[in-house]
């Protein structure tokens, strides 16, 4: 602020011409003011830089001239250009004895330099000298510079002097010294930790300005450690009391309000101290009550204090009287025409509603008004409030509103936020599964690319698990309704990828489950999906897996399977796909079609997605296989520890020597392709040292013909590339296989979360419509659950459909209302509340201090002399608005591990697959390596 004042003053002086500002400078200011474009402005500034560079080189520049140059440098810097060539002159000017020049110098360096600049070291000395000056204006200038320019390393150089200045006779100096200490505390708390008592002492300074300045560091300290400052509660309360009683000098008034900024700071501190502290809260309640009575709500600053009171009351222990006063203030805010006040009212309501949920009820119509206001800021704030007050009785209305709003906005950032809130509320309060699925469908349809993938998995799990009770009928109804809704939606153009994955999975699992839809109908739809979104491999993968399930169920139930021509062509296309994942799925599907019913049933049993997977970590089912292999000459497995013991001194990495069939690194070829499969060149023999191919090393082999000669050959070959084949690959495979179970299909691994989140849904009750006008109806449905008054109002109503898009009439539940929200837990009672009492109380004289200061108050304020220490830098830069306008939509390309094709030996692989499935493992899209590991 002061800097600006100075600049302005300089300019004002310039226009007078009295202080020697040259015409050149005035013309510069004028021409920049008149510049039509950024380019023109840049041209002017660049030529100005040229001029100054030349001028500054001239010898013996008169001081007054130099001052003007430095101000011109500030101007250049302000317009976003580099004036570093002149910094040194500004530094030199701080050495000047003339106060005006010195202050100009300090002003310029605080604007030019930052605390890490090389020139700082030249200034520290000057600052040290100036801090000792007899002229308090010089000291102030130096303290200002300290706030801006002293870094952690240079703090010790000035710290003793600053501490000394805390007792300076001039209040302006004391205030600035406090600010400097505060700055030090921010930069390096340890450097001033032994000086913290100074803040306490200065709190009872005779000068209100100094006292006000100590509130800032105290606020910081108290937010870090509340309990050490509990003894100050009564001091803060008494200060606030005196301020409100207008015992401060008149010069502290702002718009007829006594020191409002100090009041607000005090209220913030009291909120911290009073939270969860009964004693402190009681001490505060009196002054808070007074504030509500006294506060002038006709000015903006008066309302700012009122709002701060509301916040304070929401933080301290609830006090019925204060809550009532706060509620009154809020209703004034909400009734006001000013959007600002409405906004603050909504915000305050959101804070109080946690303490007394009933409070919102009297403001229902005002809230609805805000919700329908064209002002986006207000609308969003209101949605935030609704989000906070959602419970099972009003969740449907609120989520419907949110979704309507979500559809209407374009800002992806906010859309994501709203979508995730919808999901969260729906998961928490959904009255029924049907409703939940409908909401999820809407969210996916309109913001599918923005929601977390977990949401999709949750939805699939819900559909798979149903109600969690043994009510198969309800479950199948739920699934049928899901399938029906998806079949409707599936033909919509441009569905989000994630949604299509859910659709495909559900259609695959349950599309044909109750016989309403034929296999060919569903598979046709799935083929359409794969065709329409041919660039999305994940969706295609889901679609092919779904097809496989459909056909498997058909085969297993003994029906004849007619593969649709488009499906056949899809399979053929995918057999040659570049994506190995899709290729593998296609091969599996093709092989499956050739199997008999019994085999297929064991591969893909009907509705088995929820079956528990028992992972046999010992792989005991392979014992027989291993036995057989050893008998036919394979080497027995040597555990890693033994191997590392053996090979400690050799160059070989232990991981290179797996010899057990299940996890071995094998480099011999597959056996020759059977004539049925397409010819496939197998390049397994050559270990390609590319990391992307590492998963290949776990490629299961179909035969166990491992000769010692071959393996030793491989070892030799591997020498050069051992790092690529080291430990990580082995580990990553095991970890990948464990994540697969969660990522791919919703399985038991997430079940715990699911059952807990679905609990409230069973508490759904049928609702009765009513005939109140639209808004009242909405209001009632939003707020109804909380009071009996609204209950009466709504139950007296007749019939009227609520809203076209709402799936259930908005109304209040009639009976058996159990609030789902837990009782407000504002009181952090776990916190120890004992206060530390200092041995000596420095605040005894506090009561009287304001009086004494008001007596000599007139002299205390010369605004121009001391500034707020906060400003850091002033620059301008003109950015193009439009450059930032385009939202970068985040793409989320899924990367697949690249791998070569599995080879033609599909039939055998599938039989292994079946074996694994008997162990309960399902195929997943995410990580085919799991199967390679298990199938070996």
């Amino acid at each position: 602020m002061e800097q600006l004042k100075t600049i302005g003053r300089e300019l004002a002086m310039g226009s007078q011409g009295g202080f020697g500002q040259s015409k050149e400078f005035l013309d510069l200011v004028k021409s920049i003011g008149e510049a039509r474009s950024k380019a023109e402005e840049d041209r002017i500034v660049l030529s100005e830089i040229d001029i100054l560079k030349r001028r500054l080189l001239e010898p013996d520049i008169p001081k007054r001239k130099m001052k003007e140059y430095i101000i011109r440098l500030v101007y250049i810097e302000m317009l976003g250009h580099d004036a570093s060539f002149g910094y040194i002159h500004a530094v030199k000017m701080t050495h000047d004895d003339n106060l005006l020049l010195k202050r100009t110098g300090y002003l310029a360096v605080t604007l030019f330099l930052n605390e890490d600049h090389d020139l700082i070291i030249l200034i520290v000395n000057t600052i040290q000298k100036d801090l000792r000056s007899d002229n308090y204006l010089v000291v102030c200038a130096a303290l200002n510079a300290i706030c801006r320019l002293i870094n952690e390393e240079t703090i010790p150089a000035v710290l003793p002097q600053v501490v000394e200045l805390l007792n300076h006779q001039k209040e302006a100096v004391r205030k600035k010294a406090i600010m400097a200490l505060h700055r030090f505390h921010r930069k390096s708390p340890s450097s001033v930790s032994h000086l913290i008592t100074n803040f306490r002492k200065r709190l009872c300074d005779n000068d209100p300005g100094v006292m006000g300045a100590t509130l800032c560091p105290l606020f910081d300290l108290i937010s870090e450690d509340v309990n050490s400052y509990k003894d100050l509660v009564s001091s803060f309360v008494s200060i606030l009391k005196q301020v409100t009683e207008r015992r401060l000098p008149k010069s502290y008034d702002y718009h007829q309000m006594p020191a409002p900024f100090i009041q607000i700071k005090l209220l913030k501190i009291m909120a911290l101290l009073g939270s969860g502290d009964k004693n402190a809260s009681e001490i505060m309640s009196m002054v808070l009550g007074d504030l509500f009575r006294k506060c002038d709500s006709s000015t903006n600053i008066g309302n700012a204090i009122l709002y701060e009171c509301i916040r304070c009351i929401s933080c301290i222990l609830p006090n019925p009287k204060l809550l009532e006063a706060a509620a009154d203030a809020i209703s004034k805010f909400l009734k006001s025409d000013s959007h600002n006040l409405k906004y603050m009212g909504i915000d305050g309501l959101g804070r109080l509603i946690k303490i007394s949920p009933d409070i919102a009820e009297q403001h229902q119509l005002a809230v609805i008004d805000c919700l329908e206001d064209p002002d986006d800021t207000l609308k969003r704030k209101t949605f935030e409030l609704l989000y906070k007050m959602t419970k099972s009785s009003n969740v449907e209305v609120i989520v419907d509103r949110m979704i309507d709003y979500m559809i209407s906005i374009n800002d992806n950032h906010y859309k994501t936020e709203i979508a995730s809130r919808c999901v969260e509320l729906a998961e928490q309060f959904a009255p029924s599964n049907q409703w939940f699925i409908q909401i999820m469908n809407k969210v996916f349809e309109h913001a599918g690319d923005l929601v977390n993938i977990k949401v999709a998995h949750n939805l699939m799990r819900l559909i798979a698990e149903g109600f969690g009770e043994d009510d198969d009928d309800a479950d199948s109804k739920l699934r049928l309704s899901a399938v029906e809704s998806y079949l409707q939606l599936i033909s919509e153009p441009k569905l989000p990828s994630l949604f299509l994955q859910v659709i495909s999975w559900v259609l695959g699992e349950y599309g044909t489950a109750d016989g309403k839809y034929s296999a060919s109908y569903i598979s046709g739809k799935l083929c359409d999906v794969a065709d329409a979104y041919s660039s999305d491999e994940t969706v295609k993968g889901y679609a092919v897996s779904a097809l496989m399930k459909i056909y498997a169920f058909e085969i297993a139930s003994g029906r004849k399977v007619d593969v649709l021509p488009e499906c056949q062509s899809l399979i053929e296309e995918l057999l040659a796909s570049h994506s190995t994942d899709l290729q593998q799925r296609a091969y599996e599907l093709q092989a499956l079609l050739a199997l008999d019913a019994r085999a297929v049933e064991s591969i893909l049993p009907l509705d088995a997605s929820c079956e528990d997977i028992e992972v046999d970590k010992d792989l005991s089912f392979l014992n027989g296989y291993i036995q057989q292999a050893i008998e036919s000459g394979a080497q027995p497995y040597i555990s890693e520890r033994e191997r590392s013991g053996m090979f400690e001194t050799t160059d070989y990495h232990p991981q290179d020597h797996h010899e057990v069939p299940s996890h071995a690194l094998r480099f011999e070829a597959y056996e020759l392709p059977k004539p049925s499969g397409p010819p496939q060149a197998s390049n397994e023999l050559v270990p390609v040292p590319e990391p992307s191919y590492y998963s290949e090393s776990h490629q299961p082999i179909s035969t166990s013909l491992v000769s010692e000669r071959e393996s030793s050959e491989i070892k030799l070959r591997l020498d050069g590339v051992k790092q690529k084949w080291g430990r990580p690959s082995y580990q990553s495979t095991t970890s990948a296989s464990s994540t697969t179970q969660q990522a791919g299909t919703p399985t038991h691994s997430d079940a715990g979360v699911g059952s807990s989140s679905s609990k409230p849904r069973s508490s759904y009750e049928p609702k009765k419509p009513e005939i109140d006008p639209e808004k009242q109806r909405l209001a009632a449905s939003l707020f109804g659950g909380s009071s009996s008054r609204t209950d009466k109002k709504s139950s007296s109503g007749g019939h009227k459909p609520a809203k076209g898009t709402v799936n259930k009439p908005a109304a209040v539940p009639k009976e058996n209302q159990t609030p789902v929200q837990p009782p407000p837990d504002l009181l952090d009672l776990g916190e120890p509340t004992d206060t530390t009492v200092t041995a000596m109380d420095p605040f005894k004289e506090l009561e009287g201090l304001m009086d004494s200061s008001s007596q000599d108050g007139g002299s205390s304020d010369v605004m121009g002399l001391y500034s707020d220490a906060a400003p850091v830098t002033t620059t301008t830069s003109v950015d193009s608005l439009l450059s930032e306008l385009s939202d970068s939509s985040k793409g989320n390309p899924r990367t697949y591990q690249s791998q070569t094709s599995k080879g033609p030996n599909t039939k055998e692989a599938l039989e292994k697959d079946a074996l694994v499935r008997q162990m309960g493992v399902n195929p997943t899209s995410q990580n085919p390596t799991l199967f390679k590991d298990l199938l070996g």
Partner: protein
Amino acid sequence: MSILIMDNYIYILISRQGKVRLTKWYSPYAQKERSKHTSLILHAMYRLYVNSVELFCNFVEWRGYKVVYKRYASLYFCMCIDQEDNELEVLDIIHHYAEILWELQESSKKTVARIISAQDQLVEVAKEETTSISNIIAQATK
């Protein structure tokens, strides 16, 4: 009159043409961060400007930024504040700031002369104090 230290604030003056006229950073930010913040704040303001609404809130919340703004003539005074800050208070801080600027803009010769003479007086007072103190010291050390 005292205004307390503010922190983590960003202060920006924007003209109606979307030109940034002044930025003030109350915490040290690297140049890169600055331009990022500036453009994001500009973006937030621009959305508002496009809607050209006079009656709406003086607050904009956008991507985690909370901007309080006030329009004076053709200038938007914007202040980026913390989530927990009191918006109404900030509005008054802006107003106070603008009032001071206004004072400085005062172009009448009389006011300027007054400011200058006040400034001169300060310097004189300071000088006098210096000399009187040094006199005292001189006398004391005699």
